[in-house]
């Protein structure tokens, strides 16, 4: 009973999904994204030593590639699991360093494991992303140009909206101005595909950017929309689904989960910036 059969290929690795949607192939993408611009690295290749990876790191990386995106509890479980299979030392408080080790080795090939928060649950997630775009990435989009144009329209709507949402009617209307006419049913099918491929989430006919989308596209979105994008007052990260301070001179924005955590236990919630009473409904902070 100790024989472990070999499945044909243990594991065919599924490549990080970041190659499947390539918005830069659509006309109008900022020049910065074409060619090889390294965006957002903090670590310098030359000065910081690369940490040695062992087989547990490699297994972890393969698992990340297979799944695309994992939430923090799963990521930590995976960390423990990979260390135990390889009989390497495991310390639960060394998770960040573990990820760092992998990332320092992914840097030379312009990939990273990045962290992002689910705007609904507040749970942190990890995803493997590509840091640059090249001719190769342009080769592999799952979507046709006109479909990517529609996705960009959806993004426009989401960025514009305080609550980070795009209604299906709005989406349909926005496609009217596009050069390629798409039928209503085709748009609905495309929306289903976006949801199925985990670029968007949908609730009662309303569409939001998925956590995976936000993590993978963050660079692109920052470059594309620049000052238009909202930043959460609490966590300082990019934010789409927010609540906004009612004070017209303040207008500060917060993620719902960040706000829930911030106001936990307060009897009279006040805006962290202008101190006006916070009038929005505060969601339950079940994260404990």
């Amino acid at each position: 009973m100790s024989t472990s059969p070999t499945w044909p290929s243990g594991t065919h690795v599924v490549f990080p999904c970041c190659y499947k949607m390539n918005l830069s192939s659509v006309a109008g993408a900022p020049e910065m994204l074409l060619g090889r611009t390294r965006v957002g690295f903090q670590r310098s290749l030359d000065t910081e030593p690369r940490h040695q990876m062992d087989d547990s790191h490699r297994r972890f990386l393969q698992a990340m590639m297979r799944r695309g995106i994992v939430d923090e509890p799963t990521a930590k479980q995976l960390h423990q699991h990979c260390c135990s299979i390889q009989n390497t030392i495991y310390a639960s408080d060394q998770f960040d360093e573990y990820i760092d080790t992998i990332n320092s080795n992914l840097e030379p090939i312009f990939m990273q494991i990045r962290k992002g928060m689910c705007e609904d649950s507040g749970l942190q997630h990890y995803a493997l992303v590509n840091m640059i775009e090249t001719d190769v990435t342009r080769m592999t989009s799952d979507y046709a140009d006109h479909e990517l144009e529609i996705f960009r329209k959806i993004m426009d709507l989401v960025v514009d909206s305080d609550t980070g949402r795009a209604y299906s009617t709005e989406i349909l209307n926005s496609t009217v101005t596009l050069p390629q006419k798409t039928k209503k049913t085709e748009i609905e099918q495309l929306l289903n595909r976006f949801v199925h491929d985990n670029w968007l989430t949908e609730k009662e006919g309303v569409y939001y950017l998925s956590t995976r989308c936000i993590i993978e596209m963050e660079q692109y979105i920052r470059n594309m929309y620049q000052d238009q994008i909202k930043v959460c007052r609490i966590c300082r990260n990019i934010a789409f689904q927010t609540q906004v301070c009612e004070n017209p001179t303040c207008g500060v924005k917060m993620h719902k989960p960040c706000m829930a955590r911030f106001f936990r236990g307060t009897t009279e919630p006040r805006c962290p910036a202008c101190k006006d009473v916070w009038t929005h409904e505060i969601p339950d902070d079940s994260q404990g």
Binding site: P8, Q62, P108
Partner: protein, 277 residues
Amino acid sequence: MLQNKRSFNTHSSSANKKPSGTAGAAGEDEDATFTQPTSSQVERSLKKLLPGQIDQKTADVVEYILVKDQKKIPIRRGDLVKHVIKEYRNVYPEIMKRVAHTFEEVFGLKLVNIDTKNQLYILINKFEAIAGGLSFSSPDPKMGLLFVILSVIFMKRGVAKEGLIWSMLGRLSIDPAKRHEKFGDVKKMVTDEFVRQRYIEYVPIPHTDPPEHNFLWGLRANVEVSKAKLLQFVAEPPDPRLLFSLFFFFSFTQITSLKLGQGHVYHCYITFFFFLF
């Protein structure tokens, strides 16, 4: 599914350097005209390049291979040279050395040339799937079915008539003529998908009418599947969890009717196998 062909054409002949020993042949002939540079040629060309340039090309190739391998279609050297290496073909061996090194050291994957005649590459996993790994990778029923087919071919000394495979599937309640709830078009999966992925070969038998085929192991199966382990698997009762994973595609009623006790399940499995031979 967009292939942005524009980017290939605008970039491909923009290099000023004329690559040594090759003409700008198009399409699949690219590899036919690609001659591996000698090591002294590589050395000379390397000196002319900045270190960063090689690194970036290496990154491009790693990316390309990962993306192509995602669909499990082998990568042709000709395509690689034409679309990615391009004007760096003088230092092709050096790039590939670094690419292979990156795959091993960072990803735990091996880049294997499965067809030295046609120069086809695949990525295989350095790690074997193990029983404990099940909880983190849900058993893929397609792989389970493939595994059974490979086992049958193996037990028939490497060549199995297609009729045998179809009847074996039939005994597992998988009718290739009908649409299966998990696998869809089973015949297509077995004769097209698995073949393109190089897990199986589906070879026509000459002078048969209606045309019949033989199933053989494919080039990918040869490098990915350990025949020794497979034999062990067939001969010895496996871990029951794996057994159930393997027969994932059974309907629930079939499994419950089979399982009267662990021993009985193994018995049925082995009996099933020997029944075929």
